[in-house]
Each structure stands twice: as structure tokens, then as C-alpha cells.
Amino acid sequence: MRFGARLISGDKPGHPVLSVLLIALLVALAGAPFFFPGTRSLAVASQICIFIVLAASYDIMLGYTGIVSFAHTMFFGMGAYGVAIPLANGWVGWDAILLGTVGGVLLAVVVAIGIGLLSLRVQAIFFSMVTLAVASFAQLLATQLRGITGGEDGLTFSVPRVLSPAFRLLAQPLFGVRLDGRVMTYYLIFAVTLVLFLLMLRIANSPFGSVLKAIRENGFRAEALGYRTVVYRTLAGALSAAIAAVAGALMALLLRYNGPDTTLSFSIMVDILLMVVIGGMGTLYGPALGAVVIVLAQYYLQPAMQALSDATAGLPLLPAIFHPDRWLLWLGVLFVLIVYFFPAGIVGSLRGRARKG
């Protein structure tokens, strides 16, 4: 029990329902290849892991420090291109993946520090606008530099043999599941997700995390205590960017492809924002749950509506209402309902109820 509390840096979920949800998520992800066999399910579980890292890293910026940045997908893309560029150029090996990830992380950190020092002194709205402009510029650059990034078409590449679908860890299936390169890739993603998430919990519950929360609440008061808010905000931005870059590297390995639409698009930025807001800002657990909700909705809402539409085929109006082409409308309704019933996000609202007793 004490070890568990130390592992999560003493940041207890704070509500029984939340504890159950988080344990269920951990168990489901740890055994995903066995509980939910199939290529599609594994892709969903992998994406959930990657978006947990991405959304939680964004929460360090938005939830803990109160900074609204639209450049998070740019850092995600930097990590993805960091891995994709050497692999697509025929350097297929773990050293290429490691160096590509480190390169992507370093670039993300340098750019984040640059943006932070140049623009965090200005008002929050101007900072957001600067990040939007820089992210648009990065997307434009990725499409224009065809020789390096593959332009609009992106880069398709091979991965080391252990991660390729043809690889077999065991000759025989284990519990009916063939341990191939896809499963290996999934467990690599899962392990990195777990380590990074625990690391983020550690940071959020350290004195550094307290300073970030203090700056979010009142920057002037934090300055009067001796904290240089610009430095701390910049550090938070750099940390968040570095973790987003690692998530990008994982995405590239998962897809064995990277292009502007898969890691740099603005729609991913909107998804990340929704994950953090729906889950609960400044909680880290919230973005993890938000990532599950959004990724599952993106993958399964349309098939679920198809099934509903078919089941109500004989009734008036209902088949049209549940027509799978209207899935975005229902996704919107789902968001509105979540925000209505959980105004502080799922985690924030549950914790609030627990405090009131």
C-alpha cells in the first residue's frame, strides 16, 4: 500500500469511483493484447497510451501552470519526425530510434524555451497567439521541406525487426495471442507511457509542481516569494514539450509512418484540449481518462451508431437520428453532457464531491 502511494507520489485519486476507474484502466491497458485481441483493438489501446502521455504533458502547461498553448502538436510532430527521418532514410535500428527521439526532444526543448523566454512576459492571450503562429509555421515547414519530411505525403519507413508485424517472440501463441511485432510495439508504448506518467506525477507533486500551481493561481504572489515566474513557466513549457516529443516518437513507431496530418494537425490540438478539459485540468489523472473517452469515441461511436441505426430500422425518425454519418454531432452532444455534469472535468468534479463528503 505504502509502495503504491510512493509510486503515485502520494497523489491519491481522491474518490472511490476514480480509484476503480484508474485501476481498471491500468489493468485493461496492461493486458490489452490478451483482453482485446485483434489489430484494431491493439491500435486503439496504443493510441490511448500515446494520448495519455500527450494530454498529460499538455496538462502540465494548461492545468498546472495556466498557460494556453496551441503549439503542443508541433512538439508531438518534432518527436515523430525525429524518429521518422532516420528510419525513412534507411538507417533502421534502435540507435536510430534513440538518436531520433533524443534529437526530436532536444529540438522541442530548444523551441519551447525560445517561445517561452520571448513571449511568456506578454499577456496570456498574446502568448497563445504566438504559439498558434509558430505551430502553423512548423506545419507549413513540414509540408514545404519535401526532401526531409516527405512533404504532404509524409514518410513511410521500416522499423527494427522486433517491432515489425512479421516478428514472432514465441513459436506458439500465448493464451491464444500471437506475440508478434505489433504486441512488442504495444508493450514498448505501454511501458514508456507508464514510466512517463509516473514521472509526471512525481514532478507535479514536487516543490517544482507546487510553484507551478502557485504561479497559476497568482503570478505576482509567487514573484513576491522569490520565484521568477518566466523561468518556471518556460521550464514547464520545455518539460511538457519534451514529453510530447517522446509521445510523437511513439506514434511514429506505432504507425510506421509520419506526416503533417498524423502529428501536426490542428484537429489533434483540439482533441488534446478536449481530453484535458473533459478529464479535469491540473489533475494528470483527468487527461488520462479524457484520452480514453475521446479515443474510444473516435473509434467506436460510429460503429455503435450504425448498430443503433440498424436496430431501430423499423421505427420512424430514429434510424436517421442515429445514422453513422451523424457521429460528429453525437460526439458534440457527448462533450456537452460531460461538461454539464462534470464542470470541473471528470476528476475535478469527483474530487469536489468527495471533499464535500
Binding site: P207, K213, A214, R216, F220, R221, A224, L225, T229
Partner: protein
């Protein structure tokens, strides 16, 4: 040789937007003494403190701390010289726990248990009970205790405290007076803005009275406390009404 004050303001002017608030403030705070800054509302007391902390920049004049000019320094650098500031609004972080608030006030991110027990909890035992509570859930008096505790969790060279009794119940004020008395015994140097003359008189070694953005009187508190006519002239009050 004359004693060099720990904090000295010479001819300090401060503008806030187009308003000229301080008109050449001269003030000295001596080491190991509690100096009370008195004055009517709008006299410029809070602006003086905020100017010392660099929260408003002095447009003219000089501010020296331990002989070092600080008027051009950034607020965090001024704080790191060993100046703790407890603003009128207490300056606590209501969304953080009492413990987190205290951690923030520590320069190392940790604090000595001995000082926590021997100084902070000895002065304000209620904070031990509220250690893991959100600071926003504390009462007004408890928030003030937290704000002061944060300033003394480490040894500071100067404590600047702005109206700690504002809006507090008389029993809590007596408790705060007791706390400040104990701080004085530890030879802490304190600059205190206070409207409550009873508290100012009980605690002050020295006094400076401000009016219209200037210091119009300085001297020992005992002299002001003994001179009702001077009080009447400077502050518009008589001691009798505050007995």
C-alpha cells in the same frame, strides 16, 4: 558612528499609471527593531511596501537594503535577499494545501522540522491541525497566521507585513500580537503597516507616520504613544479612545 539602517528609502517617488502616489518618501528601518508605518487610508503605506518589494517601480529616489541599492531589482531577486512580504491580502495560495504554501516559502523546497515545531507551530498551533487542508478553507485569522508563518519558516533579514489585523476578530488580533511579541524577542527586524493603534503601540519600537505620500513624522513609538496632541495632529485620534 551612526547606526546604518537595514532598509533605507531616500526621496522615493512612485507613479501608478498617471497617478503620483509617493512624493519623496524617506524612511529608515533599523536592524532588530519593529518599525510601524502609520497613516490614514490612502496615505501611501501599502504603495511604499510594494515599492520596496519592486511590485511598483520607484520612479525616483533610492532604496537600499543592507547598503545595497535594490530599487532597480526584480521582485524575486529582492525576496531572495531575505525579505519576506506579507501583503494586505495575505498572499496565500488558496488552491494549495497549508503544507504546500509553506513549502513554497522555503528557499530549498524543504524545511527544518525543528523550526516548524519550535517557531511556526509554537506560535500558531492551529496550522498543525490544518496541515493538509486547502488554504482556501481556512478562516480569515488562520489565513493570516499562515501568511505570517510562511514569512518566518526560514530566518529572514526583514519581515514586511501589511495590515495583518484587517478584518480580524479581537481575539485573533490578541493572538497575533502575542505572535509578533515572540518574533520581536527573537530580534527579528519587522516593518509593519498597521491601522490598529492598540496593536501598533503594543508592538512598535519605532514609528513613521505617512500623509499624502510622504513620511511626516519619525521617532520612537513610546514618544508618540505618550503625546496625545501629536497623535491628534498626525493621526486624528486620541489614545483615550483606544485604551
Amino acid at each position: 558612528m551612526a547606526e546604518i539602517p537595514l532598509l533605507r528609502l531616500s526621496g522615493v517617488h512612485t507613479h501608478i499609471g498617471r497617478y503620483h502616489i509617493l512624493h519623496g518618501v524617506d524612511l529608515a528601518v533599523r536592524e532588530g527593531r519593529l518599525t510601524v508605518l502609520l497613516g490614514r487610508n490612502g496615505a501611501g503605506k501599502t504603495t511604499t511596501l510594494r515599492t520596496v518589494m519592486g511590485l511598483w517601480k520607484a520612479s525616483a529616489g533610492s532604496i537600499e537594503f543592507a547598503g545595497k541599492p535594490i530599487q532597480a531589482m526584480a521582485t524575486p531577486d529582492i525576496a531572495r535577499l531575505g525579505i519576506a512580504y506579507v501583503p494586505e491580502t495575505m498572499g496565500i495560495f488558496s488552491q494549495l494545501t497549508v503544507r504546500e504554501n509553506m513549502v513554497l516559502a522555503s528557499t530549498t523546497g524543504r524545511f527544518e522540522e525543528a523550526r516548524l515545531d519550535g517557531v511556526v507551530f509554537a506560535l500558531f498551533p492551529v496550522l498543525r491541525e490544518k496541515w493538509h487542508s486547502a488554504a482556501g478553507s481556512l478562516s480569515g485569522g488562520q489565513k493570516q497566521m499562515l501568511a505570517i508563518s510562511r514569512a518566518i519558516i526560514e530566518e529572514r533579514r526583514l519581515l514586511i507585513v501589511d495590515e495583518p489585523t484587517k478584518g480580524l476578530a479581537p481575539a485573533v488580533i490578541e493572538h497575533l500580537i502575542d505572535g509578533f511579541q515572540k518574533l520581536k524577542q527573537s530580534r527579528a527586524t519587522i516593518l509593519l503597516v498597521e491601522q490598529n493603534f492598540h496593536m501598533a503601540r503594543s508592538l512598535g519600537d519605532d514609528v513613521a507616520v505617512m500623509d499624502d505620500g510622504r513620511v511626516v513624522h519619525t521617532g520612537p513609538m513610546a514618544d508618540l504613544a505618550a503625546d496625545e496632541a501629536l497623535q491628534e495632529r498626525l493621526l486624528g485620534l486620541s489614545l483615550a479612545s483606544h485604551q
